[in-house]
């Protein structure tokens, strides 16, 4: 079952001096439960592609369908709502809300979606337990290590049971031990929850874990390898 279809997507930036073809005719499909990494050098178009997949940017040409819905056809307010319900984000610099506890950060999206308290608490605790932080639920981000914060971010991304999670360089600011822990957790959640994970990364450890590796260069897909 396809959760994401990218059809001949282009992104052209027209600055006053030069035209930049950041994404140049990429077509990809992602199935439910995939654990994929998009790799490529800086300036290859990975981040631009990820932004378009996440609905944070719109393609100049082409279509992006999430669960059969064309993102470009959604109005701004509907797009934000669609993102909230269907797409999870894990950022390089965690981006947790510093004034909220780990528990409150995870349940933030569920609160926006008006989940009742009982279901919210249950899901929050399950996720924090899954990421190994059940004893830190009342801690604020400033009291957590980088690795712990990123685990909270993963839990937050999964809170509303999205169709897929986009992780942009999630291990860039972590030490090797934290990276290892994080990747194991994400792999486990991928298998248990069946949620698709799509990484944008330079990290070889992430590439090693990924079951599909898409190489992008100059805005084009150079290779798309699935591991057994």
């Amino acid at each position: 079952m396809k959760v994401l279809e990218i059809k001949n997507v282009h992104k052209i930036y027209n600055s006053s001096e030069v035209k930049v073809h950041a994404v140049n005719g990429i077509s990809l499909d992602f199935e439910k439960g995939e654990f994929a990494a998009i790799v490529g050098p800086s300036g290859s178009g990975k981040t631009t592609l990820l932004n378009m997949i996440g609905g944070l940017d719109s393609p100049t040409e082409g279509e992006i369908l999430v669960d059969q819905t064309n993102l470009a056809r959604l109005k701004s307010s509907k797009l934000i709502d669609f993102r909230m319900r269907n797409i999870g984000f894990v950022f390089q610099s965690y981006n947790l809300i510093p004034v909220l506890t780990a528990k409150e950060n995870v349940e933030f999206i569920m609160s926006l979606q008006k989940w009742n308290k009982k279901d919210r608490d249950k899901r929050t605790f399950e996720l924090l337990k899954a990421v190994g932080l059940e004893d830190r639920i009342e801690s604020r981000p400033s009291k957590l290590s980088g690795g712990q914060q990123q685990r909270v971010a993963v839990a937050r991304a999964l809170a509303s049971k999205p169709k897929f999670v986009l992780a942009d360089e999630p291990t860039a600011n972590l030490d090797s031990k934290s990276t290892e822990t994080l990747l194991e957790i994400m792999e486990l959640l991928n298998k248990e929850e069946g949620i698709t994970f799509i990484f944008s990364t330079h990290d070889a450890r992430v590439v090693k874990k990924a079951r599909r590796v898409i190489t992008v260069e100059d805005g084009k897909v150079i290779s798309d390898e699935r591991k057994n």
Partner: protein, 477 residues
Amino acid sequence: MDMIWKTAWLNVWRNKVRSLVVIVSVSIGIFGGVFAVAVMNGAIEQRVDAALNDEIAHIHVNDPAFRDNYDIKLLVPHPQQVLGTVRETPGVESLTSRILLTGMANTAAKSAGVQILGIDPPEEKEVLQLYKTTIPGTGDFFGEDSRHYLAYIGHELAKELNIVRFQIDQEVLDSLAAKGVPGEVLKKLSPFSGQRFKSEKSFKKEVKAVLSIKEQHAFGAVIRGEAWTFRARSKMTLTFLDREGMQTGAVFRIAGIYDIKNSMYEMSQVLVKKEDLAELAGIGRNDYHQLIIRLDDLESTEEVSATLRAHLPGLEVLNWKELQPDLAMMTEMVQKFYAIFMVIILAALAFGIVNTMLMVVLERTKELGMLTAIGMNKKRVFNMIMLESVFLSLVGGVAGMIISQIVIGATARKGINFASYAEGLEAMGYPAHIYPAISTSFFITVTVLIILTGVLSSIYPALKALKLDPAEALRTE
């Protein structure tokens, strides 16, 4: 929505120093505004209370032409019938009748133009509380003294006619010593021993010349109090034109001096017994020029006035708002003035809040981008920033109002002494000792204005936040 509220509230305390600076500035602004309004309001309330309780009561009834020139012949026709009609009108608590003449008050020293009110003391006490302002030891006009040709005069008139004097003698110096006035001050005053001053003005001038400013502030009032003397058997002559237009008059003994801190009233209004004045003026004992009415409920003034006008078609019926339109203007317009005053203060404070919130949006560009990315729509982003701004304003506002309540509570009991401005204030009928007062409705108005300030201050910063592109915002360092 409650997560937005919680996040907004916690965000207020993210940068404690910055938030406290804004909160303190808002609270100082609110305190300043509310306290200033309380002082002004207290002064006005005291003025209105004094006017209604001591001077004019609530409604006057007289001949339509009487107030034009106070013609002695313009008596109220059918006086007993009118009395009965007024007494039976619902809302009327008490009433008294008066004779009013204009004349001169003379002593050996000076003379002054006055309005002579012929009153019935027991009835007058039911309507007005002027009798409560009698300076102790000056007489019992409203009490047991049943002699004829007694006069009750204002303190300012008493000073003007030298009935009240200021003098320093050994007895005064001993009293001052007993009251704790230091020896060095007494030494400075002792050259005046045996001296009787021509007027209060000359007394003040001479004492000021020998005492330092600090000594004047510390001991001025007690020195004035002890140096004040009243000649118990003082008399003055009242002269006026009688009903036939002939000059007449009599010598009146001063049987009381009132002090209502209204120089104009005190200088002009002399009260005597109605029977004495009627006899001298050639007016019938049951005749009168004016009815003074007290109502049981001030709020019913318009209603009762209308009823009396309907029942007394040939007479002029004026309520206190018509008798003293400046008071009515003060009480009605001043509420609007207070609101405008507070709006101006809050508008100034709003700029500080706008500045702070703009900094907040700038600092949290990345976070706002993240929130939009994970699904917080524009309305929620706007609400979060607006709530943060409202909370900031409210905390400062509530702190300011609590401080105001405490200070107003303390000063309302003791009052604030504006003795330096007493002369000017009392000339306008305002007290020099003001008891600040503020209504609950004013506090509610201020609270609403504070919330409005928070909301309006948030608009520009929130719009800035809404314009952020999430993808670009996330790239911010």
